[in-house]
């Protein structure tokens, strides 16, 4: 109980309280503690990726092992994953091999995986190839599907069912039209009206939402720090 509950709650309390107060303390120790903790969080994230790797590999392994329909696709996950890892870490492996064969100095400084004089990917750095020809186009394509979704979402949902929906609809049309170059040609005031909506009602709402969010954040953080909310700790 002590190890499983009390100590974690105590850690959250001490760490949380200190970093809430640290903001107001300008000494160099305080600033350094912030740098430490944020570095530590990064390192923890690095370790956690092993958990993530396990999760993804395991889920797909289950599919393959059970021969579920479509398990072939799961094999493709492995292809992408292993391929990228091999290309990305080949330099590291090379270093290890060099150390083993006595060619390299022990733990030679790492080479960044890309350098500024290599703007165009070449095959000597296959990681760049994966980035440029797989990762980049796939990301851009998934993102650009939004162009279709936003049109269909607008078509399906922008209906003046209620007065609120009408407000939403009208504001959207005005701003959309205001952002088109020909709007200014139709009437000079249209872009201005669009800007006015962005700068006044929209900004006011944003402010109010931000203020509300901060109150919510502070209350949630306090509940965490004082151990009132501890869903994250799990059971036992």
């Amino acid at each position: 109980m002590l190890l499983k509950r009390t100590i974690p709650v105590a850690i959250a309390f001490v760490v949380g309280l200190w970093f809430a107060i640290q903001y107001y303390v300008p000494t160099s120790f305080s600033e350094r503690s912030l740098t430490w903790a944020s570095n530590w969080a990064k390192i923890l994230l690095g370790f956690a990726y092993i958990l993530g790797l396990y999760s993804l590999v395991h889920v797909h392994w289950q599919k393959i092992r059970r021969g579920q329909p479509g398990y072939g696709y799961s094999l493709l996950v492995y292809v992408g994953l292993v391929g990228t890892l091999v290309l990305g870490l080949s330099g590291e492996v090379q270093t290890l091999v060099d150390i083993a064969t006595g060619k390299a100095h022990h733990f030679a400084d790492f080479q960044a995986y890309s350098t500024h004089d290599k703007p165009i990917p070449n095959f000597s750095s296959g990681f760049d190839w994966v980035y440029n020809y797989v990762f980049y186009p796939a990301s851009a394509t998934m993102f650009s599907i939004l162009a279709f979704f936003i049109a269909s979402a607008a078509y399906r949902t922008f209906r003046a069912r209620t007065i609120e929906a009408a407000f939403l609809l009208i504001a959207a049309i005005i701003v959309m039209f205001g952002r088109v170059p020909i709007a200014a040609a139709v009437h000079r005031a249209i872009p201005d009206v669009a800007d006015w909506i962005m700068a006044n009602p929209n900004m006011a709402v944003k402010r109010a939402i931000l203020i509300g969010i901060s109150l919510g954040t502070i209350a949630t953080s306090l509940r965490i720090i004082f151990g009132i909310e501890r869903a994250y700790l799990g059971g036992d």
Partner: protein, 371 residues
Amino acid sequence: MRWLLQIDRRYIYIVVAVAIISAHLLRDKVHFPIYASKPVRGVHDAIEKLGRGDVVLASLDFDPASAPELDPMARAVLRHCFSKGLRVIGMTHWPSGIGLAEQIITETVREFDDVVVAYRIFERRKEARAEIERLRSLEGVTLGAEVARWPAATVNAGRARIDGGAKPELTWSLGLREAVATIGTGAPKLAKLGKRRWAVLVQIARKPTLTYGEDYCFLGQRAGAGILIITMGQSLYAAFPVDNAGNSTRAMPMLQDVRSLSDIDYLICLASGNTGETWVAYGSERYHFPMGIGCTAVIAPDLYPFYQAGQITGIIGGIKGAWEYEALIGIPGSATEAVPAQTAAHLLVIVLVLLCNVGYFLAGRGRAVAS
């Protein structure tokens, strides 16, 4: 009219695709009036005010996914900076943006040398070679004086810089694509200046104009967002002991007098997430430097409060902002090319929304709701 409401969304997808692709193919046929909005001018004017050698930190915080919106913007801003002789420090907060940011910076820098490529291509053509020879024979006039006589518009478009009378130093912010476009039919107003510009292209084709570590550098990426910014405020060398290529930042000539964020003259953050706000809260608020934000259209409304409060000098919002910026610096780029398709898409969505409301009211509101 019921069918209008229950239309398969795939038909909408087809209409969108057809509209955008055809507008894009026909983009040379349409020209739009330029109306540079105040927030975009805010960024442009702030950079315009800087003097030669001032330091601009460009935080390119986006990944390939949002590149279509931010890439033209980044190039336009970088072209503006380099053509004004500003020193540019590049960095990114996004691990997935390292390759992209580096590529944009290097390619923009190369543009200043890319005339070499243009030169070679043109030299292969018979008539081009003749033209080059003719222009070379004109070399009696020193280039500095020649350029000084150019009308302001040309200088604005080409950003020729002359240092002292004796040793003209020029940079040209046109890449291969743009050079070819302007020398050919390109922007109609600039076309007649083609020959002179070509002469300058030939002149400066011989040496690289920007040097890594002196005129620009790319620090790469470090995690930490706000914390990283605070560290940079305390010491740039501590935050980035080495740049992306592993060079020591402390040894870099251009960083000798840039020790922390307090030493930079302007920050331009091109963000597809909320790094712009992080820069305001942890950077400019603490270390007091002017900054501007370029962002995807979706983030822009978020930033108006900061603009209103004077915390940032301006906002470049989305592809339209990039287009306005390209217009302001007089170098058309890919944002200018994208505008017709944008317009078509906007009008299409407006028509779709109107259509669905027509259908909604004609079908009878009550029944439509029930369905």
